[in-house]
Every structure is written in C-alpha cells, then in structure tokens.
C-alpha cells in the first residue's frame, strides 16, 4: 500500500485518537505540574481614630484578591514542578513510615491507603475472575446443547447490570436489615454488621466485582472452547490423560491468548475501581485511587477544586496501570518474537 493511501485510511483514526486520548492525557500531565491560583495584592490602608487633641492613625497592610476592571477575581497559572505529586505522596513522611515498618501510619496518607486497596482489589479479583470464568465455561461446555442458551443468558446477567446499581443492590443485601444479613444472623445466632469494619466491606467489594466480571471471562473462554482442537483432545484421551492433564496440556494452551486478553482487560478495569466505593459507601474505611482523584475534583468548603493534585493522582493511576500491564505485555511480546524467529 502506498504511504499516501495508508495515511488517508489511518489519518481520521489517528486524529480522533489524538483528540480524545493523547490530547486529554497531555492536558492532565500539564495540569499536574501547574497550579492555578488567585492573584493577591497587598493593600496599605491608613486607619485613623478621632482623639481629644490629635487623631490616632495606624497603617494596616491587608492581603486581598486582585480584581479586574469588571470586578472579577484575577487568577494565574504557575509551574510548580512535582509539588502536587509531593503533596500527594508525602515522600518524607512515607519514607519514615516505611523505615519504621508501620503500615498503619503509612495508610494515614490517603494515596497509599488508596493504592493498597486498589492493588489488593486488582490482584485478588484477577485470579478469581479467570478461575470462575473458566470453570463456568468448562461446565457449560459439558451441558447438553438445548440447555446451553438459557444458561449462557442467565450467566451473563450480572455483566449486563450497571456497576453502580449492582453495587448498591449488593449493599442492600448486606446492610443492617438486609436479607442476607438477617439470614446470616439467624444462621450464626449473632449480630452482624458488615459495614462496621473495613475488611468486611472489602470482601463484599471484591465479591461484587468477581460476580460482575466473571461472566465476561466465561463468555470469552466459552467461545474459545468451541475451537479447541478436537483431535488433540481425543488424542489425549486415547493416551490416557486425566481431566486435569487434558486441561493443562490441551485446553489451557489453546485458551492462553484469551486468558491474556481477559487479564489485560481486567487489570485495566479493576485498577480504576470506583463504582464499588460509591455503591458500598465505603469512603470512611476503604478508598481507591480513582475515588481519590474524584475527591480532589469535588468542591471543598472554600469552593475550590484541587485540580493539580487530581491530575497528579490520575497520572500516578495511569503509571500504575502501565506498570501492571508490563508483565502480560512483555510475555506476549516474547511469544510473538519466538514465533517470528521460529
């Protein structure tokens, strides 16, 4: 294909990618190293009080926002380097806490508190989503043909539900007078408060995410199972391979590109965990990086937004995702190189 023709085809896509991906990304990066603040001026005022013989005058210097000719506050944007990152990470305090080995103190810094939960959430849900998705796919693949359609439909429902609504529904099941809480209290004969401590909320949030995303993994794996080489599978049966050996030697190698695909999608998605924090109203105990960014963008009592800090938080979230994706992408690249050289 000629370069010109290639550009004609690719150009619109590149333009849109720049407009909606690269542009905003660069804007966030720029905002994270700049701060926009009000310009203040010092106003010297002489205050005189009436006296018996002479007036008593004092000079007072006041700092006040500078206004333009229309009476609007003047603001300026200044380059602050990594100041916002520093405010977010509090490296000196964090380093001291790490040296002391005190996780409790480190988690007083909101960023590390959010990072801890986000990483836990991502790394625990990933194997569960893959495992449950594969298990359901293998089970449905064994079911007689006529039952598969209804089972697939029912299995997909959790994935169809809007995440915030799903999280709220999950929460309602476990609040003080929720159906499942009541059931558990009746069964265990003790009071249960699922939202009184962080770890139970985290368990609920993890369970919800697995319940919500496992159907996606299931449907991808189920599609993959339809193309497993039947000869290889039957060859393994004739060889005497057990079910586990067939899974390990035939099915998993066949599904490995799909497993990688689901892993990458899930890593990107779960590292941006947000809906669960809102749905489960867990801010008091558990926060995520994405929620932290959102919180910085929310107006505070003085009517300000911490845009620079929110941008820094976004940038760090993105760097985290890239770092997590390095492992699967590196293995894919190696496999690709191996195939090319083979």
């Amino acid at each position: 294909m000629k370069n010109r023709t290639f550009l004609v085809f690719v150009g619109p896509s590149l333009f849109l990618m720049f407009l909606f991906i690269a542009g905003p990304l660069m804007s966030v990066a720029w905002q994270s190293v700049h701060i926009t603040r009000a310009v203040y001026e010092e106003v010297e005022t002489e205050l005189c009080t009436p006296g018996f013989l002479t007036q008593k005058c004092t000079m007072e210097i006041r700092t006040q926002p500078q206004l333009d000719e229309n009476g609007r506050q003047i603001s300026e944007t200044v380059f602050v380097g990594f100041e916002s990152y520093k405010n977010l990470l509090q490296p000196q305090v964090a380093f001291e806490n790490i040296k002391e080995g005190s996780w409790a103190k480190l988690s007083n810094i909101n960023f590390f508190k959010a990072l801890r939960f986000t990483l836990t959430f991502t790394l625990i849900t990933l194997p569960l989503v893959l495992g449950i998705g594969l298990l359901v796919a293998l089970t449905v693949n064994q079911v007689i043909q006529s039952l598969r359609g209804p089972i697939i439909f029912i299995s997909l429902l959790p994935f169809v539900i809007t995440p915030v609504i799903g999280a709220l529904s999950f929460r309602w099941l476990f609040v003080g007078d929720g159906i499942l809480t009541a059931l558990l209290e009746w069964w265990l004969e003790r009071d249960i408060a699922m939202f009184a401590q962080g770890w139970t909320i985290e368990v609920l949030m993890l369970s919800y995410r697995v319940w919500h995303v496992a159907p996606f993994a299931f449907i991808v794996f189920y599609a993959g199972l339809q193309t497993v080489n039947r000869d290889t599978l039957e060859s393994a049966i004739v060889d005497g391979a057990t079910r586990w050996q067939r899974l390990k030697l035939v099915i998993l190698p066949h599904l490995s590109p799909l497993i990688l695909f689901v892993s990458i999608i899930h890593l990107m998605d779960s590292y941006r965990v947000f809906e669960e924090v809102i749905g489960f109203r867990s801010q008091a105990h558990v926060i995520s990086l994405q929620w932290l960014t959102y919180n910085f963008l929310t107006l505070d009592e003085t009517g300000n937004r911490m845009i620079s800090r929110a941008s820094a938080s976004s940038m760090l979230t993105m760097i985290g995702i890239v770092f997590l994706l390095l492992f699967p992408l590196r293995s894919t690249w190696r496999e690709h190189q191996k195939r090319r050289s083979g």
Binding site: D231, S235, I237, V238, L249
Partner: protein, 350 residues
Amino acid sequence: MADLELRNIWKSWGDFVAVRDFQLEISDKEFLVLLGPSGCGKTTTMRMIAGLEDPTSGEIFIGNRKVNDLEPKDRDVSMVFQNYGLYPNLNVYDNICFPLKVRKVLKAEQDQRVRKAAGMVEINDLLDRRPAELSGGQRQRVALARAIVREPNVFLMDEPLSNLDAKLRISTRAQIKNLQYELKVTTVYVTHDQTEAMTLADRVVVMNQGEIQQVGSPLEIYDRPQNVFVAGFIGSPPMNLIEGSIQDGQFVCEMNKGFPLSGPEGPIALGFRAEDAEIVSEGGQLKGLVYAMELLGDATLITLRIGGGLMCVKMPKDFRAKMGQELAVFLKPAACHLFKTDSGLRLNQS
C-alpha cells in the same frame, strides 16, 4: 498384537444411522483400510474401536477381549489423527513420551523407547522443538512416533495424510507402510483416498451410507467390484458404466447399434475400465464424440460423449484426437462387468 472383531455394530444419533450392522474380523498384523466417501461412517467405526464413541448396539473385541465398556486408554490402541493431535506446549520429546508417563513407565525405559520411536520416523534431530516449529510432515511423524512408542495392540489411523501436500503424502505413505511391516501391528486406517487404500492395504473395506459395500484385497476390489457403487468409487478414472439392455444376445444402448454380449436378457449396466478399452479405426462396439482430451504424461485420457453419458478411454501418451470427432471404441469382452440396473449388484461372477 491382536485380532480385532466387530460384531453387528450399529451407531445412530436419533433417526440418523451412521453405521449399519457392521460385521468384520481383522486378523492379527493385518493392514485394513476403511475406504469410502465423506459421511459414509468409516471414521465413526474407527472412533468406536478407539472408544471415543459408544456403539448403539453390537460388540467390539480386541484380542478376544470385549472392549465395549473399557475406557479408550484401557483398550491398548494408539490413534493417529488427521490434525496430528500434538500437545502445543510440549516439545517433541515430551509429546512422544507422554503416553509412557501416563502409564508410569520407568524413566530409563521411557528415554530408550522415545529415542527408538523417534529414530523409526527419522525425527531424532527435532526432539527439542515444539510442534509450532515443525512442518506438517514433521508433525505427522511426531504423531506416528507417539503412536509407536506405546507398542499397542492396534494402530488406528484417521486420514493421517490428508493435511499433507501431494509429494509429502507419497513419502509418508511409504513410511507408514514400512512401519507396519517392521512393527507387525494390526492397523486400521481410514481414508477417502483410494490410492492410499490400494497402496497400503492388505484388505480394503469399501463403505457407503454406513454399510459395508465390499471387503477384499485391493486387486479384488479393483478387478471385481461387487456393485455399481464400488465400481464407480474405485479407480481413477472410475469404471465406465453404460446403461442399456441385452436383447437376443446383443447389448443395446442409447445412440449405439447393438453388439454381441453374453449375459442375462433384460436391462443391465455395462461396466469397463478406461484401460480395458481401446479406440480403434474399425470394428469397435461403441461410438462416441470426443468430449475432452487430457494428457496425463504416461497416457492420454479421452472422454467420449455417448448418449446422455460420458466414458473414458486410456490411450498411449502420443494418441491425439480432435474435439467433437467421432471415434469407435473396442471393449475386451473378458474385461466387461455387468450389473443389475435396479439393485446395482454384480451379475457376471466369473
């Protein structure tokens, strides 16, 4: 090594009958080929022997042991598949070794047997490679080695050459024949390629629509087809079949004058092979117009239109004819085959 016997085997899915009353005895060390068009039930029959399908009814014996209720791994059979069936993430050595590992053969013996099997199919230098790094022919040889290494009672081969190119097919075919000669293992081989069947088999079973049409040596099948289906399926080109009737000792067919032919009076199908006929300038029994001329290298194949049908005659390589030219064909009386037109069965048994 073992005999193999299939007694009254039926296989059906709902109303569809895939294999119908299949009865066959296969001798120890015999190379038997199941031959037929796609969907004739040959692979289903092999899968039932392997234990990958259960017969709807009937019994399967391997070495006088009824195996109907045995798992595939307990039947002591090895199977080679069309798509090789290799484990993609194991190297060649581990692929060949896998059946031995499953059977917990001693490590030293495993190594010895793997290297021996690899040597037999000439892949000793490929043992460290993965299947993805091999060509189709090499992969099929790995599959053969994996079958050999088990030292099974029966080899089952399901169209193992179908995925190979023509040149590789010929060399691998010879290799399979040689292996069977050396190992002397009872072998059942499924193919739809009659050349493979003719070159490899001690006996050929021709199947159609789930039924055995004929069982015999390759020559018997070729020289004395028992019905119209076998006659039309075996041979390249297949046997010429001309419908007509014998009236007063004369065979009469469309667009041709009668010629003397001994056989029962009434409608018949006359069959003859392309190489058993000859184009002559005078005295031929049949006449037709040249429809196509194909140069085969070692011969020239002339296709003539006779009435509503076509017939082929194999002539020497330097023979030439013009398209549309009328030619006379001489049939050797001894090479004529007669079939009933209604049932398709052979009439002249001599």
